[in-house]
């Protein structure tokens, strides 16, 4: 995944992103850190094809997704991108399984019952498929959101503060999942405030006022 000279302007003058370039080879686990309002979420939305950048472009597997029509972009989000939202964004009227299977029911790749159990098992939600999400704890809901992002086996996983509401043990579980996915060749971009998460990533990008101010490549580690 390659982002070149990304810019996103709101209104006449407010640039949330300014000339951000980022090349993430397949199988890398990248953490993006920065203060509130530094443009992290805007960057993630542009990478996911949820928002269109004002300037620059995003290439995913060789395709410039910023030039795609809305329908093609929608298919791309469904089939190739997994997105974990900061506030879970689960549908409270559906069960755990209903939420996890939502992308497949919207026309995405079909998965078997065994695949569902496997993905629920991977995030530690074994046997909870039939539960309404309203009955789950915050940590469990976050896992449902992660499971939903993984169910279509996307090439790119984007996560906005995926461990923000989790205790240290649950955080470790989620990070272990990301490690495994990364080892399996998936590209992962995670927004985080937590140094612990930043440390686990193979690369750490820091944003300030919409621009990249630091990019520690090649398994650089932030001092604890």
């Amino acid at each position: 995944m390659v982002a070149e000279g990304l810019g996103r302007r709101y209104g006449e003058r407010l640039w949330a992103l300014r000339d951000v370039s980022l090349a993430v080879p397949a199988g890398r686990f990248v953490a993006v850190m920065g203060a509130t309002g530094s443009g992290k979420s805007t960057l993630l939305h542009c990478l996911a094809g949820l928002d269109r950048p004002t300037a620059g472009r995003v290439r995913l597997a060789g395709r410039d997704i910023t030039r795609l029509r809305e329908a093609a972009l929608t298919r791309l989000r469904r089939d190739r991108v997994g997105f974990v939202f900061q506030s879970y964004n689960l549908l409270s009227t559906l069960t755990v399984a209903g939420n996890v299977l939502l992308p497949t029911r919207l026309g995405g790749p079909r998965v078997s019952g065994g695949d569902l159990e496997a993905v629920l098992g991977a995030v530690g939600l074994d046997g909870l498929g039939g539960r309404p999400v309203g009955e789950l704890s915050g940590g469990q809901r976050q896992r449902v959101a992660v499971a939903r992002a993984l169910v279509t086996e996307p090439a790119l996983l984007l996560a906005d503060e995926p461990t923000g509401n989790l205790d240290s043990r649950a955080t470790e579980d989620v990070l272990a999942i990301f490690d495994e996915l990364s080892a399996a060749g998936r590209t992962i971009v995670v927004i985080t405030h937590e140094v612990e998460v930043g440390n686990r990533a193979s690369r750490l990008v820091r944003l300030r006022d919409g621009a990249v101010v630091a990019d520690d490549r090649q398994d650089a580690r932030v001092p604890a």
């Binding site: 949820l50 929608t74 989000r77 089939d79 964004n89 992308p103 029911r105 919207l106």
Partner: protein, 391 residues
């Protein structure tokens, strides 16, 4: 999404806010029920009018004149040579009067004086006793045949045949009772009648002036037009027109039926149109409520779109919900209309037209699709990022 999932989502959406869905459905229900019921009332009314006209017999002609018709003129119309298609021509005099029996008074709005052929021509068979005869007519015998209502009013629980009633100071003997006609369209009761020989009625009640009308019976339904032409020719010779106005008028029962049918059709169309407006208002209710639903579920729409729901899936979901709302309302409206049509409304027994049920149901589905399309397209057109930010 499969059809089943779409329908399940739609049902879930409707069930999520039962009161609101119920009120929206009520709007469609009232519209559909009104269309079916009012069209049924219009049709029922038309049928009653037709039945009444048909009860008179469609092979008859009524000649009316403004004080120019006489007994010899009635006899002339039955001329077998000049009018071969005329079976009979009965002179008719009619007056409203009071009939008294054993201290009981009953006002009869139609005391008819005529000849014996009238019973067959006017399609009024005698159920009990006998009609009067040509001999009774020739001798001006004071005999009378009562309609069912008049008989019931004057002789409750007893057989009137053979008893004597007083009409305008003269005694008449009841010779028979007519079969009920039961065609009480409008405000007149066709059974509240008394029929006596025209000679006797002229002697005792109306005097020897001009007669009211002549009831002509054609030899068959297909010979009515021919009979009308012959009657017209005879009358034109005997009653020359003064200026532009003809002194007489010939009414053809079939023409009358046609005119009445057209009037009834217009009446039914008007009623249906008024009801259609209420259905339209119900449809606007669907749009209104679906717009609220879309606003309420903006975030859900954002989540679905972010996860890859195409425009069509979102639009279909809301269209299905709107259509299901109006179809449920329409279905209940049909049941209400069918229940309502069992009662008499404004003196009319409604006759439900199966076509109006299909039409009303079809229209309610169309309303769901049409009025649901605006909110559905608004939902489908939302940008996922904007919808997700919506609080």
């Amino acid at each position: 999404m499969t059809v089943r999932e779409t329908l399940r989502f739609a049902l879930r959406g409707i069930a999520a806010n039962k009161l609101r869905s119920g009120l929206t459905m009520l709007g469609i229900l009232i519209g559909v029920a009104a269309v079916i019921l009012l069209v049924a009332v219009g049709t029922g009314s038309a049928r009653q009018v037709s039945a009444r006209i048909e009860a008179l017999g469609t092979n008859t002609l009524t000649v009316q004149g403004n004080g120019v018709l006489t007994m010899p003129l009635a006899a002339a119309l039955a001329d077998p040579v000049l009018a071969p298609d005329v079976l009979s021509a009965s002179p008719v005099v009619s007056a409203a009067t009071t009939v008294t029996y054993a201290g009981t008074d009953h006002a009869v709005p139609q005391f008819v004086g005529t000849d014996a052929a009238y019973f067959a021509a006017a399609n009024t068979p005698v159920a009990r006793g006998a009609a009067f005869t040509a001999d009774d007519l020739a001798r001006a015998r004071r005999v009378v045949v009562l309609g069912r209502t008049a008989a019931d009013e004057l002789f409750p629980g007893t057989d009137p045949v053979g008893r004597e009633v007083t009409v305008g100071g003269a005694l008449y003997t009841v010779s028979g009772v007519l079969a009920p006609r039961n065609s009480a369209a409008g405000f007149t009761d066709a059974d509240d009648i008394a029929i006596a020989p025209v000679t006797a009625v002229r002697q005792t009640l109306t005097g020897y002036g001009p007669i009211t009308s002549i009831l002509v019976r054609a030899a068959g339904p297909e010979r009515v037009d021919a009979a009308q032409a012959q009657v017209d020719a005879i009358l034109a010779a005997k009653l020359p027109a003064t200026g532009d106005a003809s002194p007489y008028r010939i009414q053809n029962a079939a023409q009358l039926l046609e005119t009445q049918s057209e009037t009834a059709q217009t009446f039914t169309t008007l009623l249906g149109a008024v009801a259609g407006i209420s259905l339209l208002v119900g449809g606007l209710g669907v749009t209104n409520i679906m717009l609220v639903t879309v606003t309420e579920r903006t975030r859900e729409i954002g989540i679905r779109k972010a996860l890859g729901a195409p425009r069509g899936a979102i639009a279909t979901q809301f269209l299905a919900e709107a259509t299901m709302l109006s179809l449920l309302g329409g279905g209940l409206g049909v049941l209400v209309a069918l229940a309502g049509s069992r009662f008499t409304i404004a003196g009319v027994q409604p006759a439900v037209v199966p076509g109006s049920i299909a039409l009303a149901l079809g229209v309610s589905v169309a309303i769901g699709l049409f009025f649901g399309s605006v909110p559905a397209h608004r939902a489908a057109g939302l940008r996922p990022i904007d919808a997700l930010r919506y609080e």
